[in-house]
Symmetry: D4
Subunit: 177 residues, 8 copies
């Protein structure tokens, strides 16, 4: 597994390397916030035994949150959840034929007893932020970074508002063409 | 596991005993055709280890086809398929909120490499018949029984046609009220 | 707000008292696991100011996870998430006309920056368990209780398996009629 | 805010500047009809306090109709509606994964008490026209302009009909290639 | 047409008397707020000429907003909109087979030029409130009544909150059984 | 086949006798208009040969329009269409799990070359009327009956309008309880 | 209107010239079969009066079948059907946001009394063929042409079968690249 | 028909040569595993008689599994299933307008009595693998090849895992651009 400098506490896994581009948004935001994380491929369907072993070893290595991305019959998040009591975040990856609706329903409609925290279709960034919020629930320093992130987000919007106010709709659109 | 008289060659499994009424249609049709079968509960989410073990032991005990029913985030058929090279038939069980669409998409949209033979929503009878067709592909006696079943089905329709022809729409509807 | 004996660390809120029956499943499971919680009504649409105030006061009172249930144009979970950096769990409540699909999409399709941890339609029990997993990520005693819950769940399934094995499909179905 | 020459009476807001191109159709049609308007960004999720303040100040500044565009978990129109008693028009902006169905359901399925006047997916032009009709309901001069717009629309169709009649299907298609 | 005491300024029409129960919610809320209104049946499909005449006469009689409810291939709101420049509010009525999705899409997906202000499926109450907001945009007394309605709504929620706070989840649910 | 007094010119067929209640609406309206018709069961799946033979014999016996009702994987209308050059009308019958959406798409999405005239889900009455319109296109007497039917339909609506006008919304609803 | 050499008996109309490319497939097939036809634009929304007049004049001029194409809130086919007793064929035109599902449901879900013969999304060719079948139901020469068309279609497939049989999958695919 | 060297035991058929590219994935995987197969075009709609004859002759020639691909109103798999007692695998081919949902529902929602083993939308590779599993259920040498295929699949994933572990997310993404 690729690891950040420190002992990773968030694991980002996905069913196939074709999901890596989408899922790398979770890596980016966690790196930005400063939460050590690791990324690897765990296929519920092609490597079912590894899924079980990885999940258990991850817990032992100190992982506190697992982010799992998958598309279509997206079984990875739910199956990982059934192998652990850690919070598992599911990212429905958009598919070629049904626009991600299949991924979403396969991940979110879990039976009572085995929860998966599902985020937006292709929403790996939100998965990273949700992991940070979970860590932050018992870690003030992370919560402060999240507050700062939120303020930055707000300021970015405020700058756009000012620019739009100053140059008007037409010029704003021309600028962003 | 509940077993028929002879060594079972078709296994009927489901995620929860709440699916048993729907899935018992597969048992009935297999019993009717005379294919030894066994029925048990295997939860992908609540008993993930058992799923793996059951699948492997089933193969060793001579099971040739596995029928798996599940609803919602219906992972059982796909996960069983990832643990075996036997043909796996998936029955999407109708759910309370999304009318079975979630079950259907979770089961049918499998990634390349791990097929699931999906049938109609709540279609356990068709799952049983499909299992019989698979057995029948290399067993003439079963294929003959399937031919007979088909003829019976046709004859049943022909009788209804004659009755409708004889008594007319109104009386036919009154009779079936 | 109704509170458990100890200082609540999980808040369960909903848009309307018509969602209370569904959401009470979260209360039950949290009580069962022993996590102090509080329950109240916060309408994003009818009491928008209260939503903001409640969210902020909740954080100050030591709440670590907020569970928000809503149906239709289900804005509560997302709006609460935009007022806090705590993890927010969204429960899509089933609606009269679109079977909960509207609630699900309104809650899960959040824009980058503001995550909501969405669970099953009407899945308040899973919301409670997810909250417990989040608390458990930094609280060994809760994690142990979750492990026990998981084992109990598994044992309950195992008992059903044995019963089905013993009495067979027909009698099992008769018993549960 | 960008303002037209006169005191604006219609406000066009959106959750993100990525919606500006779609929403600028509302600006165009209002300018064409001659209804003073202002355009700005108000994010329900990233700037929730501003949403509240903006809505209230807008009313005080004489705004009579608010047009709000948003995509995905599109909370802006409904939340603005909960902060005012002005008519609020919602424009569901088409999304990358679910073709705008998520935006539409998030905007239109409002609970009793808080209405949003929802228009076509990406239908900012219709939102502008609806705002004009609302203003026109108590302003004869605007209503006359709308009658003229309607006649122009009809005439434009009539010209196309004549052209098609004159040159035939094949040439008409060649001309518009 | 059934009329309120004063000259009606809002017209409530529907495609069939089977929609009357749903649509009567609009009548109730308008009566409550004190906006004179009239109710009648206008079928786009069965009485197309009347639709045209009614729409034109309505304008002449001083109607300012038209609320139109319809189900399935719900053409009434859009066709009425094409015969007038008044604001037209569409209420998608829930259908027997597709849960109101057909009604919703038939009403909301209008082409550029002919807007319909669509509300919630079966949302006649919101249609009445939207009509009131449109009237209120140029009538202070109505706007004040809407502010009062909003405060009442909020107070009703606050009372429920207090009750729930006082008696707890279990007793609250028992009371509302 | 059940036949009307005269030589039938419209055939009403369905995949199963469970569709007879829905399809009998087509019989009723054709009888009412006075178009001789016959009704029988033709299963595309259970009696495929009969489908072919029936279709061909029907043409020879003077049938001019075939109405075919089916649910789920509704192949009957399309397959009948592929065996004839007569106009074939398809009635999507509502199903237990997907609300008739499966029936509708299976019937309407025919490939280029083999048309099916699809009507409303469960819309057997409209199927009968469409058959009558097709017959009427070259039979003045039928067209006149259709004109009369249309006028009757309009008059029935007009009577309801008058009644509603006379007794008001409340009493009208009470009367129809 | 553009007319074929002889007096047209099929009219092809559409809501906008943007639908002309799709709808021209109906013109082509009718020309091919030799059925005189006319094509024009009739907007239910932008030219509602013309729709009424056109429909009536069409009947007087000897039109026997009307083909109407429309997208989104596709009211044209249903409204034309409400103005005539001729058979009306509806072509749902694919839309930018909902993939034609809105067009399909708006056209097919007509209320009892006013049928529309709906074909495939973008299925103008099938609409033309259905019109020909309707004409053919009382015109042997057209029916014979349809039989010939059917045989040609079959032969075209047979030729492809032979080619595939001769050159194999790989070469066939290379040839059609 | 194009045939492999040996007597084919799996038949791959499709409704149109436009489906050949998608369906050729089934040919490839069967060739790879070493199962003799044949490919041809059989249109349920354009060559209905041939469908019947082909199905029967296929059985006589020793075919054991039929794979049928079709799009839209995808009747081929179900109709072939109604003409045989062999296992029939249905491949829903993605369509231009409804993203393959129409194909999926037309194929999977078969009535009781006539099963179709449905796979992923455009999932011809899985169809080939399912056919191999069916053959393998009574042929050890095929089952061994399937076990090898499964191991290869797993090893391919393991190699990717190692590479990702070694070079990290950023370089991995750069490499695969």
């Amino acid at each position: 597994m690729e690891q950040s400098n420190n002992k990773p506490i968030v694991a980002i896994i996905m069913g196939s390397d074709s999901d890596l581009l989408v899922m790398s948004e979770a890596v980016k935001i966690l790196d930005e916030i400063g939460i050590p994380n690791e990324t690897t491929i765990v296929s519920a369907h092609r490597t079912p035994e590894r899924m079980n072993e990885y999940t258990k070893s991850a817990v032992n290595r100190g992982i506190k949150v697992i982010i799992a991305g998958a598309g279509g019959s997206a079984h990875l998040p739910g199956m990982v959840s059934s192998h652990t009591t850690l919070p598992v975040i599911g990212v429905p990856v958009k598919t070629k034929s049904l626009d991600g609706l299949d991924s979403l329903l396969s991940i979110v409609q879990m039976p009572p007893g085995i929860p998966v925290a599902t985020v937006t279709i292709n929403g790996a960034k939100n998965a990273g932020l949700l992991a940070a919020r979970i860590i932050g629930a018992s870690d003030k320093s992370i919560q402060e970074k999240l507050e700062k992130y939120k303020t930055d987000l707000k300021n970015m919007v405020m700058e756009k508002i000012e620019l739009l106010d100053k140059i008007g709709v037409k010029d704003y659109l021309d600028k962003n063409k």
